[in-house]
Each structure stands twice: as C-alpha cells, then as structure tokens.
Symmetry: C2
Subunit: 384 residues, 2 copies
Amino acid sequence: MGTPKGDQNLLRRHNRGLVLNLLREGAPLSRTALARKTGLAPSVLTRLVRELLAEGIVTEVGKAESNGGRRSTLLALNPDYACAIGLKVEKTRVLAARINLAGEIRARHALPFPNPRPEGFLELAQSLVEELAQGEILGVGIGISGLVDAARGIELYSPILGWREVPLAGPLSEAIGLPVYLENDVNALTLAECWYGAGRAFRNFVCVTVGEGIGAGVVVDGKLYRGAAGGAGELGHTTLDPHGPLCRCGERGCLEVYASDRFLVGQAKALGHETIDGLAAAARAGDLAAQAVFAEMGRALGIGVKNLVNLLNPEAVVLGGERLDAADLFLPAFEEQVRRHSFPKEAEDLAIVPAELGEGGFLIGAATLAVREFFRLPAEGVTT
Amino acid sequence: MGTPKGDQNLLRRHNRGLVLNLLREGAPLSRTALARKTGLAPSVLTRLVRELLAEGIVTEVGKAESNGGRRSTLLALNPDYACAIGLKVEKTRVLAARINLAGEIRARHALPFPNPRPEGFLELAQSLVEELAQGEILGVGIGISGLVDAARGIELYSPILGWREVPLAGPLSEAIGLPVYLENDVNALTLAECWYGAGRAFRNFVCVTVGEGIGAGVVVDGKLYRGAAGGAGELGHTTLDPHGPLCRCGERGCLEVYASDRFLVGQAKALGHETIDGLAAAARAGDLAAQAVFAEMGRALGIGVKNLVNLLNPEAVVLGGERLDAADLFLPAFEEQVRRHSFPKEAEDLAIVPAELGEGGFLIGAATLAVREFFRLPAEGVTT
C-alpha cells in the first residue's frame, strides 16, 4: 500500500525488480524497449542497467535493428548469475538439484531416506545442500507431500510420510545460513511449469499429476493459488461416486480409487500382469482387456478434471506425474470426458498439454521457491 | 507496470484511489491514520483530503481521541455522493435498483419481460434506468444468467433465456450515455457479498447459490475470479454420479439433478405436495418422508461443495439463492458432507455462512460492477 515519500532505496529495488522480471519473462530487450515497458525515465533506466551489467545479473547479447536503422544493444538476464537448490522428500529418498535462474538443472544428487523420520531430515538435507552448493546460492526450496504451512515453513500433515506438525524450513535455514522455503510437492511442480514449462503460455491453468496419488496445482493470474491453508488442489479426493469403494482417506468413491496407480496395479494383477508396465505393454500389443483398463482410468480422471474445469474455467490443463508415461493409452478417453461441458465453447477452447519438465519438474519447482523471492517486487503499489 | 515520470495526473488519481479504498473498506479514519496507511506525505494527504471534502465524496464524521489527548477529526466516505444502477434479467421480468456507494438500495423498479427476446431488452432497460436515475449516476451494471463476455459486454450463451451472442452493454451505453457493465448473475451476487455482505470477512471464498439452478462464484485474494472465458463456478454441472439420470445439459448425474428446485419439485409431487413450500411445511410439521427429501438434497449439495472445497480450500462458503429459505431443512445434511475432508483440519476451519444481502443481492451486485470502476486504481504499480 505505498511507501513513505523519499524512500529511494525501496523505489530503486522496485524499479530494478520491474526490469529483471521483464527480462526473465521474455526475449532480450533493448534499453528503449525496457524504458517503454517499465514506464521508467530513460535516464533512470540507463543508470539501473549500468548497475545490473556491473553486477553481472544482466548481459548484452547482441544488436537488434531498430526503426531508424540504428542498431540497439539487446539485454538479457544472465541465467547463471545465481542458482537455487531444490529438495524433494520421498518415501525412501531425498532428491536434490541445483538450478540456475533459467530453471536449468546444473547438478543433481540424491540420498537414501528409508523409513523417513523427521529427526533424520536435517542432517540429510544439510549434506545434500553442501554437496550441491556452488557459486551464489539464493536459497533452498523443499517440496514435500501433504499439507504445508508455507509461511511458517512447517509440514502440517503428510499421510504418505506419516509426519505431523514438523518444522522443516527454520531448522535447515539456521543450519546452512540460507533462506529455506517449503511447499507441497504438486504446488512446487505447478510453479515450475508456470515459470519454466508448459504453463508459460497461460495466465490461468491447472497442473494435474497422475501416479501414486492424484493431485492438482492451481495458477490464477500467473500466480500459484494455495487456498486458505495451502490445501487447494486436492483433486484426488474429490468424490466421483458417493456409493463407490472405500478410499484410503476413509471416504467412498474418491477419484484416486479409480485413476491412481493403485487402481492400475489392482487391475494389472487381475489380468495376470506383475506391474503397470506389463499391463501397458499388453495394451500396446493389442490386448483389449488391458486397453479397457487404461480407458476406464482415463475416463475417471477425465470426469474429475471436467469438474475442475467447470469450477475454474482454466485456459489449460497441464498433465504431469509419473503415469504420464501411459498417456498414449489413457488420453483419448480422458480428453473425451474433459471436453464434455455445459458450455461447449469453453471445452473446445481448453488446451490439454503435457508437462514439459519431466520428473525433474518437482526439483526445479522446489528451487523456484527461492528464485521467486529473488524476483519479487518489494511492494505492490509504490508511490512517492 | 509503472508510469512515465512526471505523469502527475495519474499519480494523483492513484493516491486518491488509495484514500477512497481505505475509507470504503473500513471504519472512519483520521488524516494521520490515512497518511500512515497510504504511505503518503502528510502535506500530500492534507491537500488530497481538502479536494475530496470540497467535492463532497468524503465527509467529516466526528472526532477521535488521539494519543496525545488532542482530538483528531475522523473522515468517512459519503455513501450518497453517487449511485449506480443494477439490472437483473430474468425469464419473465427485468428487475432494477439504484444503490449508493455503501451498497444500500435507494430505489427499486421492475418491468415485465415475458418471452424475453434480445430485441426487446434495450427499450426496457432504458425505461428502467430513466425511472431510477437521480443525482450522480456512475454507471449501470447488468446481471444475467449464462456465459458472459464481460470485457466486450456480450451475452455469449444463456440456455435459460435461449440467447446467443447478444451485445448488451454497448447498445445500452450508447442509448443512455453512461458506462454499462455486464456480468453473469451469480458472479454479480458474489461481488455484492464480497463488497457489502458475508464475504467482507474473507479474502478467499466461494458463494454458492441454490434454487432453480446451482451456481457458484469464486473470490480469490479479494477479487472475483472469472476463469479464462468467464465460465468459472459451474458447480451445478459438476458430475455427482456418472451413471445418474440425464440432466437438461445432456450429461448424466450433474449436481443439479440432485439438488436444484427441479429435484425438490419432483419429490414434492411424488409425495402429494403441490409445491416446494408445501413439502417444506410438511417437513417442518414432522413428516419424515418430506424431511428425507431435504436431507437427500442437502447431502448431494454437500458432496458437490465438498469437491469445490477440496479443489479451492476457501476460507468460507457463503450460501445464497432462493432455496436458502429451506436452509433449516437441508443444512445439517449439507454441512455433514462438506466437512468430510482428507485433511480434517481444513474442513474444521471452513466457515459456512448464509449470504447477507437477500434477494436484493443480485441487483446490488450488478450495480457494484459500476461502483467497482469508481474505486479502481488507475494502475497496479505506479512509480515516478
């Protein structure tokens, strides 16, 4: 809500943020274009760019033909000016990666974490950070399953890990002397796709993950929407059939019952296959019963996502998660359901696209939690 | 994204907007409090307030004890400085109201509109506006069922009215010489509850309406969320049971099949009652079969809203619409379902509250479309 007149430092940081965000989001720009797009006076802009060049955050990357025939220098963000580290806590291991400002993975590491207990996490995370830290590190982000209090850095409840009320960000930050951020893993993946992946093309989209569980992340107006307590996106436990079989959450007929890996594993076994991969191979070889399983799974997922689309009217559904490897088998039935809608035009306009960042997306997203702070404007409405 | 240095007019409008929004949202404030909250220099603030007092937008409403014992004058918005007119298009009539800046209805009017056709709307709307216009009118808002292109002021598709691609705002604006805004009726109601009703206490909430149809409006971070094409909130056509009976939209087992007035009317007739009111009277008199109908309706609505809560994790569900008159009969079953959640704490924290504005809410919301423009800041991030 504004800032006291004369707080030049805050104003400078705000203007600097405007320039850095423009360079982050798009193609290289000339000083003239930056001045126009930020609304900053050319003299202010020139001074700011001089600083950013001296610090190495921005680099000159070539010349562009300008209107008058004079060629102006193009400026771009230096993606390797700084990095951030992302961690992903899983049931048997912790994964880690260092990414640069362009979301590129520069190094990876992993450590086993069998029977994960909160007490063991700090030491493990510290080793991973020490292993990967190199150059300027902006901070560390942690992606974890379950309900997360991002503001306080506390894991509130993870049914998968069996953790409750575990402070994670604070202790790690104290141990390593860097800012540490915490977020639900699907939200982290959604952030990654939003900044660096398939979500870049959209202001409002949902990222749906399919695999062991079914989750969703919601992006509203270019920003991750977390809901009142960080619990938005619980797609897997929306009810598909109130009279359906019991879900592990205690309710009946949740979407996860019909479309997660548990469903596929159960059906695979019933058809004499050991694994989901075996079932998929049979389906691809023409086995009609195996094909029907994936069609059924795709149809159920499609109904769940159709409901989501009815409620949020997103521009796009970005599909991610481990089971994307069987997309060829479930996508036709999925899409047929999603595009059923009371307003047909809306469903036609909806884009359905695969996530772009692959399994590294979770780690990129966790690290992006720290990168996002680097680019955050100091205040929403600065006035002097 | 900032504004050219020296654009003092824009900056003045921005600062003026900051002050007006603060006075709109809360209790009366002293000049000192306004300077602190806006971050404006006391001299700038004093000049601005002098202007606003002279124009009559702001009034002095009393004195407050300040720290040093000196009593400072409190300032408030003058709610009757200006008004806006809201219209609601229904199947047999068009309703209209004039509201002031505090969302209070100052006058109402209605005209019959049987077999509504787009061609007849302009003349009708013009008469209503002329009847109600008095004093400073900021503009006119129209609330209408179906999918609305708010930016272009076009009704895209209303199954209830049978209208497709009808430009409404442009022609009316031309005829009456005032700005005209268009929005889906449930979105308008949601805006009204957000600005003047039960939603004031929340940043993120959903407004659910029950009656002939079932709809929802979504508020994210204090703003109405419309989705990619204005189609967010289609709660009534989320699937409750993929094998259920056919809905009028052509799909099976939509929530509307189980929880709208059509369901109640059907059940009422089956039990020998003429109307929903008759069924409700029987239920209140102890008729177990009639009670079971409302419990079933509440349970279905609860499952639909539970799914919405899972996806959006709102702070509150604001319940509105005509059938709120039977809330005593369906609310227990409704609430029992909504509070079933894979993260129990989230469901506990959820507030379930009735809409506060009653049936006038749709009209207040339509008019608020115009009031909202009056309070809109000229730019998001103004820098000089």
